[in-house]
Amino acid sequence: MLAAVFLWPLGASVVASFSREGQWTLANYDTVRRLYAGDVLYTVGVAAAGTAMTFAVAIPVCGWLRMRAWGPIELLLKVPLFVPFVVVGHALRVFWSPYLPGFSSSWAGIAMALAWKHLGLAALLLLGAFRGTDESYLEAARQFGAGSLRVTKDVLVPMAGPALAVTAILIFSSMLASFSIPLMMGRGGGPQMLMIDVYYRFGQHGDFATASALGVVAYLLASGAALVYIRRLTR
């Protein structure tokens, strides 16, 4: 089953990325290097920024919720889980455009929209990890006068380190592969997220070979993160 639904298409993509018109070649990767090296860096940068933004909001809010469980806030935090990517892209573009023209199509706008969408997933994973921390540690910290932020920073985050790492990897990988939000918010010029380039090569040019090479590069980027994840799982 795994071979049929994952390994076979993956293998077909890898083969396609090394061939053109029936010949084995590295030309597709050369095209990626010449035309899309900047986009690879841009994609990694946006994904990293988006992940950082997600954590900048999720960690303090989840820390606060760990100590003062409040249903409505927790529910609000998880709402993005149920909002489709396309809707997030469209809604934020329409929301920002009148006040901040040009922001939604910038790298910061795309990273922020990705962060908004991933807040729900981060909240789900982080709250679970934070709630797994024994209450006695929090009590002890509080007795020494630590507030919510201090307890989060010095107790919850270090103790939930492995869960934080796994959450970061999942979110980073998801952002690397994001398509709908950049498509809805981005512009037709300037640096592009990698999946937009894949779509362009295939959709506009019917160039499956270069699209596959771009896909393999994305696999490699995501698999770097996935290796860390698997090591965590198997430890």
Partner: protein
């Protein structure tokens, strides 16, 4: 793309009760799908009551046509016969590729209205001889739309356009080459203007020695773009125009007309076609080589190519330019429709400044140069 292809498969296996089922795949927007469902299909059934049309839309832009190509190619590669698409509406690029790969039927000669299928674009597309394989459902022109309140004298040429953009930075927009074909068309129009090689780039033969001139033109476009807004698509340009963010932009005339008809666009926004012109990009009706209902498919396209149908459904109802002989079709439309159709861009403008797409090799060179130089 896979989801689109899956959707297409599911839609095409739905059983129909009529004696002959005609599977029609439309690689265009929902309004085009609706024309087939509500106007052309019922009109055809009035002549041939035994035919049931199964009309399926595959989306918008080039990927919509690619979904149709992918499906037909897969059936051809698998050796399966007959194929389950009888009539398809595809872009110029995809149609030329399908002709090249032997996937289409040469059905036009058997049509009663074959003589009305005329023009350079039905002979060659991207350097491929498509004569006899394609019938444009309608023609679609790329143009510069502008706000008359902001642009007192619309540019009559690319020289005037470049000067206006320099004097009004941030007020001209188009969608680059990754946001849709109107941006690709503008880029190609720019290259025709800068290089003066229209004839060579469209008629060939391909000559790699033309590359430096193309790259020089694209380098100039990079500088031009510094004063322009790159929008996120055809709709994005119209939206920016409508909101007054830009005062001039590159649009599809049919989309501009459609938005105006739907009340989504400032009716004052007007198209113009500057010299030496911009590409016209028809959507072709084609019949796959192994279609199950080849004869009926050809008759359906023949019906759509009838001047009366073109006049009522294509021109008067939607404000599109006719797909077949305009002399025969435009004689049948009302003066009001004629005025709407040619407001801003006259029939003479179209005759003089509608440009063909270049040979595929030049098209690829231009795209590559844009990606390398402009980004």
């Amino acid at each position: 793309m896979l989801l689109r292809a899956l959707g297409l498969i599911l839609a095409l296996i739905v059983p129909a009760s009529a004696a002959t089922r005609l599977n029609v795949a439309i690689g265009a927007d929902v309004n085009v799908v609706e024309v087939h469902k509500t106007l052309l299909g019922p009109g055809f059934r009035a002549i041939e009551p035994d035919v049931e049309l199964n009309v399926v839309g595959t989306g918008t832009g080039e990927p919509a046509s690619r979904a149709i190509y992918t499906k037909i190619k897969a059936q051809a590669d698998a050796g399966r016969k007959p194929w389950d698409i009888d009539v398809a509406l595809v872009s110029m690029a995809v149609a030329s590729q399908m002709v090249k790969e032997g996937l289409l039927l040469r059905y036009v000669p058997q049509m009663k209205n074959a003589a009305l299928v005329k023009g350079a674009e039905v002979k060659e597309a991207f350097g491929v001889t498509v004569d006899g394989y394609v019938v444009p459902m309608f023609h679609n022109q790329i143009a510069i739309a502008y706000h008359p309140s902001k642009v007192v004298a619309p540019p009559k040429s690319f020289d005037e356009l470049a000067a206006w953009v320099k004097a009004n930075p941030g007020r001209f927009g188009y969608n680059g080459i990754k946001g849709g074909v109107s941006g690709v068309g503008f880029t190609i129009g720019w290259v025709y203007w800068k290089t003066g090689l229209y004839k060579e780039l469209t008629q060939g033969p391909f000559d790699k020695a033309k590359e430096p001139a193309i790259r020089e033109a694209i380098t100039a476009l990079r500088d031009f773009n510094k004063q322009a807004i790159i929008t996120n698509g055809n709709a994005g340009t119209l939206d920016a125009l409508n909101r007054g963010e830009i005062w001039m932009g590159v649009v599809w005339i049919d989309q501009l007309v459609a938005w105006k008809n739907e009340g989504r666009m400032d009716p004052a926004v007007t198209p113009a076609l500057p010299a030496p012109g911009l590409p016209i990009y028809p959507l072709y009706l084609v019949v796959p080589r192994e279609a199950a209902q080849k004869e009926t498919a050809a008759r359906y396209v023949d019906y759509i190519a009838t001047p009366e149908v073109q006049a009522k459904a294509i021109v008067e109802r939607f404000g599109w330019y006719p797909g077949v002989d305009p002399e025969k079709v435009l004689a049948l439309i009302t003066p009001k429709s004629r005025d709407l159709l040619f407001r801003g861009v006259s029939a003479q403008d179209l005759a003089r400044y509608s440009r063909q797409m270049p040979l595929k090799e030049y098209h690829d060179l231009i795209s590559l140069a844009y990606e390398e130089i402009v980004r």
